[in-house]
Symmetry: C2
Subunit: 209 residues, 2 copies
Amino acid sequence: MSQAKTAEPRPYHHGDLRRALVDAARRLLEAEGPSALSLRAVAREAGVSPAAPYHHFKDKSELLDAVAHEGWETLNAQMAEAKARDTGPHQLTGLGIAYVCFARENPALYRVMYDMVREKEALPLDVQGDNDSAYCMVRDTMVEHGADPGAETHLELATIAAWCGAHGLAEMAGFKQFEHLKEELGGERAFLDAVLSHMGLFTAKHGAC
Amino acid sequence: MSQAKTAEPRPYHHGDLRRALVDAARRLLEAEGPSALSLRAVAREAGVSPAAPYHHFKDKSELLDAVAHEGWETLNAQMAEAKARDTGPHQLTGLGIAYVCFARENPALYRVMYDMVREKEALPLDVQGDNDSAYCMVRDTMVEHGADPGAETHLELATIAAWCGAHGLAEMAGFKQFEHLKEELGGERAFLDAVLSHMGLFTAKHGAC
DNA sequence: CAAGATATCTGTACAGCGCTTAGATATGAA
DNA sequence: TTCATATCTAAGCGCTGTACAGATATCTTG
């Protein structure tokens, strides 16, 4: 491509309202939670009129899509980092911990991410393709030194099972019923480690969050 | 108690508007999905004014609580039924299947149920108490003939791990990426069976949905 | 049966929401 | 300089959750 005609539209008035809107949304999300994420509130936070966002996003859900997309990118990056940090046999555990820790540290963002996933009924990145999505990272790590390569083990199914467990734990780790367990085990991190190891698909204990 | 003073409030005008509202909500939920569940729409469906529900529910979320509560009761009943149907070594698998099947057959209701759970940050029924909640049922079944009673097995953690896996699968089983797997395995039911069995905590395959 | 207390429901209203439309304004191209 | 176009504002529609005043039906008490 040439330089800056078809590549980037480069807005005029605001500089980059699209960017500013996504940032404002993330700021609101962290400060006030997912229920405060109205289009009008985002526009207010960004200092523009309520109708301005419609020149950059088809509707509200498209804005949330953009926020969620950045969330998935961050999650992918953090999991890649965890994988690079530990190349030993506990890599899978490290990935699981990284996943759950991200969700626990960014609960509002994780909720927006999964709201979008539920609406689309699909994980955000192509599972088939050999891209570097988190899902494929888990699957590949499973091949390298995953669970026992028994006769009945189906790679894709094992990956799905692991993903389901990690997602379930990510959503439920904060439940009040489990607080006594966290104390018993010595903190939330130990609790996450313990539950993941009981899932069988994340084999040993580790330290990577 | 005597007859009808402290027992049931028995409303006057409508007969039992509270009941009618919950039923209307469930009807709307099944017909139009969770996004159509506005308080006004429920009141419309029940044939009363928009303000009428406020004499029976503090606010909208309390109405949804009631709907979700009935959902959990139904789920508990279906799991108890599954447990009674098969008293053999595959009881745990039957419970897992019953859980996921309920969620898959009542997706909108399951969403309302878990929205409430996420908001309260707690499972709906007391996990500690020895009541007959689904959670306790899973735990007890695990004791009776669950996974291997190895040295490192912590009953509560194993139950949580199983619950996380089942919830994850319940939310993700419908994802488009998994359709080719369902075909490969011969239907969604076989897919659910296979993923659950890969979780390790639900041991063998079974037939109970 | 009469009458007052109370629970239930209606009508109306308000602020906030997502979104649309028409018009103003700033920018890039001719 | 002029025009086309991209960007933003102002105003408004129908919807939402919720509050309040008043009407009405039922229960309770005499």
